[in-house]
């Protein structure tokens, strides 16, 4: 029981209960504006009947069509603690996948901290699998390398043979991912 709608700039003033979570990054304004300007349909917020923001997803479409790498990407997905365990994250992911389907993407991918077991398991339940490990993808606020990421993927209907999700056995470095 949720209102799902496009995220707008005004929501930035109301998202503290979501973003004060330690694993949710608050980005600089340019980052949000870039997504709103380029992929507004991929930035969706869920609102509770009382007006509280429950969670949001932020994504984009990128990659080369010719190389069959055109895909939807999940940049951020976060749900406020008091609105967890309602299946909201799954709902938002489903919407992002649907948008990516319409755009003719081959797959949807996302990066997640290796340590964030809760999220990794959730994505697995939603049909995502680890495609590769990216070494030291996350860095701490001092710029020091902090943690590895899993690059997780789920094939969309256009990738009939599910080629895009065949795992790469060796870990890669952040500079090697395109």
């Amino acid at each position: 029981m949720t209102t799902l709608r496009a995220f707008t700039c005004d929501d930035l003033f109301k998202f503290n209960n979501i973003n004060l979570d330690p694993l949710t990054e608050t980005y600089g304004i340019p980052f949000y504006l870039q997504y709103l300007a380029h992929w507004p349909e991929y930035f969706i917020v869920a609102e509770a009947p009382g007006g509280e923001l429950m969670g949001y997803i932020m994504g984009k479409a990128e990659g080369s069509v010719a190389r069959e790498e055109w895909h939807g990407h999940v940049t951020a997905l976060s749900v406020a603690p008091e609105f967890r365990r309602l299946g909201l994250a799954a709902k938002l992911m489903e919407m992002l996948e649907e948008i990516s389907e319409r755009k003719g993407g081959f797959f949807v991918d996302l990066f997640v901290r290796v340590s964030n077991q809760v999220a990794v398991n959730m994505y697995k339940q939603l049909g995502y699998s680890v495609y590769r490990t990216v070494i030291e993808y996350y860095s701490a606020s001092n710029g020091e390398p902090d943690e590895d990421a899993y690059d997780m993927r789920k094939a969309l209907s256009r990738d009939t043979e599910r080629k895009s999700i065949i795992p790469i056995p060796h870990p890669v470095r952040p500079e090697d991912i395109e």
Binding site: M1, T2, T3, L4, R5, A6, T8, C9, D10, L12, F13, K14, N16, N17, N19, L20, D21, P22, L23, T26, Y27, G28, I29, P30, L33, Q34, L36, A37, H38, P40, E41, E47, A48, P49, G50, E52, M54, P81, E82, F83, R84, R85, L86, G87, M95, E98, I99, R102, K103, S115, N116, Q117, V118, S141
Partner: protein, 947 residues
């Protein structure tokens, strides 16, 4: 990266053939990119010796100069090149970057205007010109540039850039008539032309068409368009067409269509709350109009329409039954919709609500289904008013029956066996708080409640043993509620022990759940209320609040840091916020341009409104004012003269840059969780009063700042008798500014007095009170005003000359004496112990610290006027007082305090309370030291003046 420009412009203009000039310029680009500006300048000079006409080298040199702080030199060098009206990509793009860094985006437009004239067929230059106009918001010129571009290269996006520029002219027009009769109709015709010619290509173009029709109020046309073939292009956003149709139905009050579409969408997704609302809205509108469907054909284009309460009841009941039947997780929507429908029927005095059932039973049913979700409280809270007060206790008890706790142990409590039961139990506690049942308990009752909640908290910790540091503990909410009950007790009884124990329990909570933002926020608030700012710094930084959060929750820091004498921390917190606001202007312009490029037209007005909202932020105005005041109070006449400081800040007393009439309160005032009953919640009225109070306080501060600036520029002007006529005029103009500002301050203080008379009390977890009340009651404001008034009189004396001014001299003498008396009084209000132990209780008087800060400000201000004698006496007294306070604080051995006497606290809990007490003591000492340092510096500068 500058290097990038070189590469891309190469490829664009000349393919991959290497231009010898590019080879020559490359090292300069590299130096600049690596931050090696000096080498870049040298390299450019070297190159310019050999190739005088290599303009780009000059511009790159100018970039180097700009970045090393030589703005004037950089500017004149840049203008040398600009007047030549360059047409090479390298120079143009380098100049663009330079002008942007100089914050002179309007010069970029001149640059490309010239380039376009010289190379009229260049798509690239035309498009740069359009973007340059976009950056400065020259909508009319954008419209023309877009059209010129389209005529050069007939690509659709260019045409629609021009159309959008018309829409922007409409939005920004002062006169709405102009928008409605000229700009928007013109935009509409431009789009219609493309439609007729069958040239509409992209979704963005359809979106823009819709936007224009909507703004014109042509909802019928908009609806036809969305339903027609053009609407088929609306595919990116999910349900884009349905959402747009719904919006138009509502605008057009086409309730049958609205109803039928809502119904359809709800059948597809019975959890979409907004469509329940539109379904009910439309239903009741139809009932009010006694609308009946046409007999034979379809009800309306969207399908069957529902027009009776019976149908709505059946619809909702059916949705609930569907959920009941499901194997998977049930959705909350239908059950909430049922409560919403009862609420609406009751509002209309409609008796049919009974058909849906008793709200109490329905809420119990809801709790049965969703009680183990943390959101249950947020959901039910909305409909608690459906229960009559006499049912509250019954409701709570029956909820309790649905929570199977284990056997009651020695302490008299039974505990949940798993986290689901725990969450249910928590929800009952939350509901009973929201119903006010906790608030009606007496002190003993509340203490028992605390014991019970604490027991549950500690018991529940076992379920979260394997939780990561980044996760919350399942039982955290108990801990937070304990803190809330302690706060109730503290505010009701004034018993400070409750506060200390509250701090203890929150510190304990944080030790088990180090990422809990709510613990941190509440601790932060409590330490601030206690006048202890030092622990707040770490707490806030561990929240990792960044960027826009400085605007929304930065007030938690900036409200208290300076007022508690933590000047270094205050300065730092102002800077965090200011850095964010200053980058806003540049950042948003860039993305307005991106929105044009990607055709996200609806985002353009949104970005502009966002930029305005930040620029008009109350917090922004506060931090920039407080930042300058702080610098003047702490630094002026110590490191540099007041006049120099004022000049360095670019302060102009005549200028008022605060948008008083359009101030935006961007503070997030509900960031702290609260389960208080409705009558204790933050209301819109509270918000309004808080903004009003903060604005008046800001006005006092901003006038004080401008008065200080005015004084600085006046006081150090040459004496009028030795100067020529113009100078004399200058001085009198300035003193009239001073006079004007003083009377404004006087008026503002009168308004302030009226506001503080209201003695507005905000909810504890809502906005902090402004400093206004204590500034007035301490006498600080009037002291400052007197000191400033005195300066004005002194100025008059200087103009009049000593000979004809015996009256004036007497007046000054009296004012001065009275000022000293006022300062003495203010100082006497600082007397007392900020922290003391009495009968094994720790007592605080944080207001003494605040008053001391309020004492320091007028002292410093008077010090600027070089009145030494008596002032020095007061400063010495104040210093003695501070020293005395420091000594007694240091002597206070908190370890000697026996804790847990009043109400039982475990050994461990006492440890946390003690830690909190130590933090408060240390923080007080820190504040006193900073205040002492400042006073000492002032005393020294007064002494040096005396000689």
């Amino acid at each position: 990266m500058l290097r990038h420009i070189l590469v891309t412009s190469n490829m664009a203009a000349r393919g991959h053939v290497q231009d010898p000039n590019d080879r020559r310029l490359r090292p300069i680009y590299d130096y600049l990119d690596n931050g090696n500006n000096k080498m870049a300048i040298q390299q450019a000079d070297k190159l310019l010796k050999k190739h005088k006409d290599l303009h780009c080298a000059k511009v790159l040199k100018a970039i180097g100069l700009q970045r090393t702080g030589k703005q004037d030199e950089a500017f004149s060098l840049a203008q040398e090149v600009a007047t030549l009206e360059p047409t090479d990509d390298n120079s143009l793009q380098a100049l663009t970057i330079l002008y942007r860094e100089m914050h002179r985006p309007e010069l970029v437009t001149k640059l490309y205007e010239a380039a376009v004239k010289k190379v009229p067929l260049s798509e690239e230059y035309h498009s740069h010109l359009f973007m340059a106009y976009a950056r400065v918001g020259e909508y009319k010129k954008m419209q023309q540039a877009g059209m010129a571009l389209y005529k050069t290269v007939p690509k659709n996006p260019y045409y629609f850039w021009s159309v959008m520029s018309l829409v922007m002219q409409a939005i920004s027009a002062q006169d709405d008539k102009l928008a409605q009769t000229m700009f928007l109709p013109l935009a509409e015709r431009m789009v219609e032309k493309m439609v007729k010619e069958g040239k509409i290509e992209a979704e963005a173009e359809v979106q823009l068409y819709f936007m224009i029709l909507e703004r014109l109020g042509k909802y019928v046309e908009a609806l036809d368009m969305v339903r027609g073939p053009l609407g088929e292009k609306l595919t990116s956003e999910l349900q884009s067409r349905e959402n747009k149709c719904m919006m138009m139905y509502q605008r057009l009050q086409l309730w049958p269509e609205c109803n039928a579409l809502s119904y359809k969408l709800l059948l597809k997704n019975p959890d979409e709350w907004q469509f329940y609302l539109s379904y009910f809205d439309s239903l009741f509108h139809l009932m009010d109009k006694s609308w009946s469907p046409p007999n034979e054909e379809e009800h309306c284009v969207e399908g069957p329409v529902q027009t009776t309460v019976a149908e709505a009841v059946k619809f909702v009941v059916d949705r609930m039954e569907e959920e009941d039947k499901k194997d998977s997780r049930p959705l909350r929507g239908p059950y909430m919709a049922c409560l919403e429908l009862i609420h609406r029927l009751r509002q209309r005095g409609c008796p049919d609500e009974e058909e849906l059932g008793d709200p109490l039973e329905l809420m119990l049913q809801f709790f049965g289904k969703f009680g183990d979700k943390p959101s249950c409280i947020t959901d039910l809270k909305i409909y608690l008013h459906l229960l009559p007060p006499e049912q509250h206790t019954q409701f709570k008890n029956r909820l309790g029956d649905l929570v199977p706790l284990g056997e009651v142990g020695e302490d008299g409590f039974g505990f949940p066996g798993d986290t689901k039961v725990l969450q249910r139990h928590l929800c009952v506690c939350q509901l009973s708080r929201v119903l006010g049942l906790q608030h009606t308990l007496d002190t003993e009752g509340k203490l028992c409640l605390i014991t019970e909640l604490k027991a549950h908290y500690h018991y529940g910790l076992q379920f979260g043993k394997s939780c990561l540091k980044t996760e919350l503990q399942f039982s955290d909410t108990y801990c937070l509620m304990v803190a809330h009950v302690y706060i109730d007790l503290w505010t009701e009884t004034g018993d400070e022990n409750m506060l200390w124990q509250c701090l203890g329990v929150l510190e304990e909570g944080l030790s088990y759940s180090p990422s809990n933002a709510q613990f941190k926020l509440l601790l932060l608030l409590l330490f601030c209320r206690l006048g202890a700012f030092q622990p707040v710094v770490d707490l806030y930084s561990s929240l990792d609040a960044k960027h826009v959060q400085h605007d929304t929750i930065g007030y938690l820091l900036t409200r208290y840091a300076g007022s508690l004498g933590q000047f270094a921390a205050a300065s730092q917190s102002y800077n965090f916020s200011l850095r964010f606001f200053h980058s806003n202007q540049k950042d948003t312009s860039e993305y307005i341009i991106q929105a044009y490029k990607y055709g996200a037209f609806e985002k353009i007005p949104e970005f502009i409104a966002f930029r305005t909202r930040l620029n008009q932020s109350l917090h922004f105005a506060q931090v920039r004012t407080e930042r300058m005041l702080l610098d003047l109070y702490t630094e002026a006449d110590i490191t540099s003269s007041l006049e120099e400081s004022v000049k360095a800040m670019g302060l102009c007393p005549e200028e008022d840059d605060i948008p008083w009439d359009n101030m935006r309160d961007n503070r997030d005032l509900t960031v702290l969780f609260s389960w208080d009953p409705k009558d204790r919640e933050l209301t819109e009225e509270h918000r309004r009063l808080s903004l009003e109070e903060e604005s008046v306080w800001l006005k006092v501060r901003s006038l004080t700042l401008r008065l200080l600036a005015s004084l600085a520029l006046l006081g150090h002007a040459p004496s009028p008798r030795n100067s020529d006529k113009t100078n004399e005029n200058g001085v009198s103009a300035k003193s009239s500014t001073l006079q004007t500002l003083l009377s404004q301050l006087d008026l503002t203080l009168q308004t302030a007095a009226q506001i503080t008379e209201k003695q507005t009390q905000y909810p504890f977890l809502g906005p902090p009170s402004s400093r206004l009340a204590s500034a007035l009651s301490s006498g600080s404001c009037h002291c400052q005003a007197s000191a400033l008034q005195l300066s004005l009189t002194l100025q008059e004396l200087e103009t009049t000359g000593l000979d004809d001014s015996s009256e004036l001299q007497t007046q000054i003498c009296n004012s001065f004496k009275s000022l000293i008396v006022q300062l003495q009084e203010l100082l006497s209000r600082c007397k007392g112990e900020v922290l003391e132990m009495k009968d094994s209780r720790l007592m605080t008087q944080p207001s003494l610290l605040e008053t001391l800060v309020f004492f320091v400000e007028p002292v410093v201000l008077s010090g600027f006027q070089e009145w030494t004698g008596s002032l020095q006496g007061i400063v010495t007294q104040a210093l003695d007082h501070v020293k005395g306070q420091e000594a007694s604080l240091t002597a206070l051995k908190l370890a000697a305090l026996t804790l847990g006497v009043g109400h039982a606290q475990t050994q461990e809990e006492c440890g946390f309370t003690r830690a909190a007490m130590d933090k408060v003591q240390t923080s007080y000492l820190g504040s006193l030291q900073e205040l002492g340092d400042l006073l000492r510096k002032r005393a020294d500068s007064l002494k040096s003046l005396k000689f």
